[in-house]
Every structure is written in structure tokens, then in C-alpha cells.
């Protein structure tokens, strides 16, 4: 058995898993506060990555400037999307809103193809050294950065929900919109804020992946990839989203390893997470961390 390869794959899995976790968190954020299952989640990554790429290539800005400009752009984009497209849908059946997000997903994918073309593009070289070695393991700087950013985002999320007044307002709104309103919380601004945050944070993940793999249509696949992560963790748990993301990340790689070494079934990388999802939901139908309703009778 090739242990070195296995360890390398597991580490890769954890790094990618953290990014899955970040995207899954955004997904959960939108679901929790607005009850909308956002099928356009992957497109946030795609748009963010393309916009940042455009800043770097066309405007020739330094990476760090382009990066932050993109974040500002995406925050505005998320808020506007909520205000223009989704706000009129408040009060309509939730399934209609979900269909709209599917439409948005198709629309933005095509729009990006139209503007930037169908060919994958790579970012200009951002770091001077591409990789270095720790204890014989090959570590890419971009991966290190991605891990750092993912952890930073997670800590920020935690602090935001635990200690900030907007975080508390969001939790309250997630629980009961009518009651939140009666306590002086503007539900509209909470909705706008959650879309804004989801777009910004997802875009960060998109840029990080773009740095490593280049920008292409395949980024939006992340939107589908996070489904097993989110459902595994329980649809409404932020912690669950992170754990779910890590599990899916590692699982893909380990499944791929065993398949390529022993079984030769093929395509396990994409399929394995769904098998495990199925098995876990057998035993824990609310997901690993999902809330069961407490009810006293």
C-alpha cells in the first residue's frame, strides 16, 4: 500500500474539504435565514473568480487590490440580487423561489461564458515561490493560503453569530420572522445581508480555487458538491457544514485512492460522497448536527 500517496491525498482532501465547508456554510446561512435552498451557490464562486481574474488581467491590478475589490463587488452583487430578484418573491411559495435560484444558476453560467468565453483561464502568478517542502511533503503556497483563509472565515462566522447584534438578529429571523419583526429587526435587511455575505464568502472560495486550478465553468460544480456536505451536517447547522465539508473532501480522495489501487470501478471520486450520505441519513435522518425540534407537550 502506498502510504505516502494516501497521506498526501488525505491532506489534499482536508484542504479541499475546508473550502467545501466554507461554501457549505454560505449555503446554510442563506437556508437558515431565508429558508431558500440556493441552487445558484456555485455561480457565486464562478462570478467571483471571473471578476477577480478580470481585475488582474484587464485592469492589471495587484492581486491583493483585485481580491478586495472583488469582495466589495460581490457584497453589492449579493445584496442587489436579493433586492431585485428575490425580495419580490417574499411571501410566495418557497418552491417558486427555489426554482428561481435554478434559473439564476443557468443564467449566470451562460452570462459568464458569454462575457469571458468557454476556455479555462489561469491566474497570473501571484506567489513568488510556488511550493516548498515540510517533512518531505510537498506543500503549495496557494493551498496554504486557502487553508488560512478558510479557517479565518470560519472563525469570523463563529464570532459574528455569537457576539454581533446582526448575528443575533439573523438567528432570531431564522427562527421566526414575525417575532423578529416585533422585536424591531428589519427582516428585509437581514435577508439582504445574508445574501451579501454568502456571495462574498463564496467568491473568496472561488478565487482561491481559481488560483490553484484556473478559472473555468467547472467552478460552479462546487455548488452541487456542497449538497452532500450540507445535508450530511444537517441542513441548518453551521458547524455541521464545516464537518460535512471536511468529511466529503477526505472521502473523495480516499475513495479515489482505494479505487485506483484495488477496485478499478472508476469515478469513485464523484460518487463515493453520495453513498456515504445515503448510509448516514439512514441512521441520522436530521444529519449529523441538524436540529430536531424540541417540543414540550
Amino acid at each position: 500500500m502506498n502510504f505516502e500517496l494516501l497521506i498526501q491525498l488525505i491532506i489534499n482532501g482536508l484542504i479541499v474539504g475546508l473550502l467545501y465547508g466554507v461554501v457549505a456554510m454560505c449555503f446554510v446561512l442563506v437556508y437558515k435565514s431565508t429558508q431558500v435552498v440556493n441552487f445558484a451557490q456555485g455561480e457565486f464562486l464562478l462570478i467571483g473568480a471571473w471578476v477577480c481574474w478580470a481585475f488582474l488581467i484587464y485592469a492589471e491590478l495587484p492581486f491583493i487590490v483585485g481580491f478586495f475589490l472583488t469582495l466589495f463587488f460581490m457584497a453589492g452583487f449579493g445584496v442587489l440580487l436579493q433586492m431585485i430578484v428575490l425580495r419580490p418573491m417574499i411571501g410566495e411559495p418557497i418552491i417558486s423561489v427555489i426554482m428561481i435560484t435554478i434559473g439564476l444558476s443557468m443564467f449566470f453560467q451562460s452570462l459568464m461564458k458569454w462575457i469571458f468565453g468557454v476556455d479555462p483561464q489561469s491566474y497570473p502568478q501571484v506567489f513568488e515561490t510556488q511550493s516548498f517542502e515540510i517533512y518531505g511533503l510537498n506543500v503549495e503556497v496557494a493551498y496554504l493560503m486557502s487553508t488560512g483563509i478558510a479557517l479565518l472565515i470560519m472563525v469570523a462566522f463563529f464570532l459574528f453569530f455569537k457576539y454581533s447584534k446582526h448575528g443575533l438578529a439573523m438567528r432570531a429571523t431564522a427562527f421566526d420572522q414575525q417575532v423578529a419583526q416585533s422585536l424591531g429587526i428589519s427582516v428585509k435587511s437581514v435577508f439582504a445581508m445574508s445574501w451579501g455575505i454568502a456571495a462574498t464568502v463564496s467568491a473568496t472560495a472561488g478565487i482561491v480555487i481559481g488560483l490553484v486550478n484556473g478559472v473555468s465553468d467547472s467552478l460552479s460544480v462546487m455548488g452541487i458538491k456542497v449538497f452532500p456536505a450540507v445535508i450530511l451536517g444537517g441542513l441548518d447547522s453551521i458547524i455541521g457544514a464545516i464537518v460535512g465539508g471536511l468529511i466529503i473532501g477526505v472521502l473523495e480522495n480516499v475513495a479515489e485512492f482505494f479505487d485506483s489501487q484495488y477496485f478499478h470501478i472508476g469515478n469513485m471520486y464523484d460518487i463515493a460522497p453520495f453513498y456515504v450520505l445515503l448510509i448516514i441519513l439512514w441512521f441520522k435522518p436530521y444529519g449529523l448536527f441538524g436540529t430536531k425540534d424540541i417540543e414540550r407537550i
Binding site: Y163, L168, F175, D176, Q178, Q181, L183, R296
Partner: protein
């Protein structure tokens, strides 16, 4: 009577063909306890929802502190100093009691995510301490300090009602709307709740508008009572006047014969 804090003029509300409220007008004077009574489906909760902004009346106007609020959203009305509780418990079940109450402070918190991290430098620290002091005061007042860390969903019914009242009080409201604060309580809990309502009215100076079915309590603690029947105002006056009114007896309290019948059966 002092100046009115709340003025309802000719409010009508219909859901399709069903008229929930028809031309209801009344005034609530500052510092009073005002009760709305009436049979089931009389429009009591609809009236309360119009005041709190959950429903918009089809016609008529509502003014609060001499300010027209008919077209304001519920959260804007909360900002102006209107708190409420709900008929069915509406606590944030998965949050602690303390967090539940802190949500009520939401609109009063001035610091944001930029000034917040500068905890020591900005006034965030002072602000936080002030809020905590006020919240502690409410907690002491309602005697719920032993459950402050508990998850709200796990508490008994009576306690949850009390936490809900605490959360509404945390808004620091001038007017508080209570939708059946004593429904489903036993006698002891009812007495406690009645005392809290009186105290928050007298000590904190909060005007109370409440819906309640327990006539004993209503007559004991209200300064003024309004009777609704089929969405119309039947009468409005002192508790004794309302009790003595023939229409009210017929519509809600039951006519003399029925009352006697009830008493004889109840005792037996």
C-alpha cells in the same frame, strides 16, 4: 385622563369577504392597563395585530404618541417603543433565555461590527454594560434569574410566558401588547402574571394593552375595558360599567340565567 398614547380611528380590516374589524375606534391613555375582551373570533387578536403592524387595516388610522404609524412596518413600530407578546408561544426555542432577551435589545445597540472590535476604545464596553444592567433588572423583576442559561424550548409553559414578557420588556417599550398572557396557566401562575403586569405598569410606567379571557383578572387589574363582538366595538369603559352592561352580558359574559346555571353547576 391623561393624553392618549394610542389612538385608533375608524379601523376596518377584512380578509376577503370576512370582516374582521368594522370601524373600531378607541383611545388608550398613557400609563393605563387597557383590556380587550370578547368572544372567540370577535377580532381581538386582529386588532392587536393592526396595532403592532402585522396586519395593515383596510381603512382607518392608528397613531402612537401623536405620530401616525398606520403604514409603518412592525420593526419600525418596535423602534418607536411598542413591544408585544404572542398568543402562541413564540420564543426562540434553541437559544438561551439570556439570548432571547438580548434579541429584544437589538434595536437599541448602537455599536456595529466596526466599532465593536474596538471594545475598549469605543463606547461599546460602556454600552454593553448598560444593556446588561437593564436586562438584569428585567430578569430580577420577573424572577427568572435561575433559568437565564437554560435553553428556552426546555422550560415549562408558565416560565416560557414569563421569558416572552421579559423579551418584550427588553425593547424598553412605552406600550406593551399582550395577547392572552395567562392562557393555559394554573391559578398560581395567573396570580403571578397579574402581579407582574401590574408592576410593569406601575414601576416601569409601561402602558399595557392586553387580551384576556379570564374575567376575574381583567376586572381586577384593568383601568379600562373594551368589548368587541363580531368585529365591532360593543362598548368601552371602566370594568364595573362593562360588567353591568346588558349587551355585554348577552354577548360575552352570558345572561343572568346562564350565569346562575353555571354557578350552581360549578359549585356542585
Amino acid at each position: 385622563m391623561s393624553e392618549p398614547i394610542l389612538k385608533i380611528e375608524q379601523v376596518s380590516l377584512a380578509f376577503g369577504g370576512v370582516k374582521a374589524l368594522t370601524d373600531v375606534s378607541f383611545e388608550v391613555s398613557r400609563g393605563s392597563v387597557f383590556s380587550i375582551i370578547g368572544p372567540n373570533g370577535a377580532g381581538k387578536t386582529s386588532m392587536l395585530n393592526c396595532i403592532s403592524g402585522r396586519y395593515r387595516p383596510n381603512s382607518g388610522s392608528i397613531s402612537f404618541n401623536n405620530q401616525e404609524v398606520t403604514h409603518l412596518r412592525p420593526n419600525d413600530r418596535a423602534d418607536l417603543g411598542m413591544g408585544r407578546t404572542f398568543q402562541n408561544l413564540a420564543l426562540f426555542g434553541h437559544m438561551s433565555v439570556l439570548d432571547n432577551i438580548m434579541v429584544g435589545r437589538h434595536h437599541l445597540l448602537k455599536n456595529n461590527w466596526i466599532t465593536g472590535p474596538l471594545y475598549w476604545a469605543s463606547k461599546a464596553q460602556k454600552e454593553e454594560l448598560e444593556h446588561r444592567r437593564y436586562v438584569e433588572e428585567i430578569i430580577d423583576f420577573l424572577e427568572i434569574s435561575h433559568i437565564r442559561k437554560s435553553v428556552a424550548g426546555t422550560l415549562s409553559y408558565g416560565l416560557r410566558k414569563r421569558v416572552e414578557l421579559a423579551r418584550a420588556m427588553a425593547l424598553n417599550p412605552q406600550l406593551i401588547l399582550l395577547d392572552e398572557p395567562m392562557a393555559g396557566m394554573n391559578l398560581e401562575e395567573k396570580e403571578d402574571m397579574a402581579r407582574y403586569i401590574l408592576d410593569l405598569n406601575e414601576e416601569f410606567g409601561i402602558t399595557v394593552v392586553m387580551i384576556e379571557h379570564d374575567m376575574g383578572v381583567v376586572m381586577d387589574i384593568s383601568h379600562e375595558v373594551m368589548v368587541l363582538d363580531f368585529g365591532k366595538k360593543l362598548m368601552c369603559g371602566l370594568p364595573d360599567e362593562v360588567m353591568a352592561n346588558e349587551h355585554v352580558k348577552r354577548a360575552y359574559l352570558g345572561v343572568e340565567d346562564d350565569a346562575e346555571l353555571e354557578i350552581s353547576q360549578g359549585v356542585g
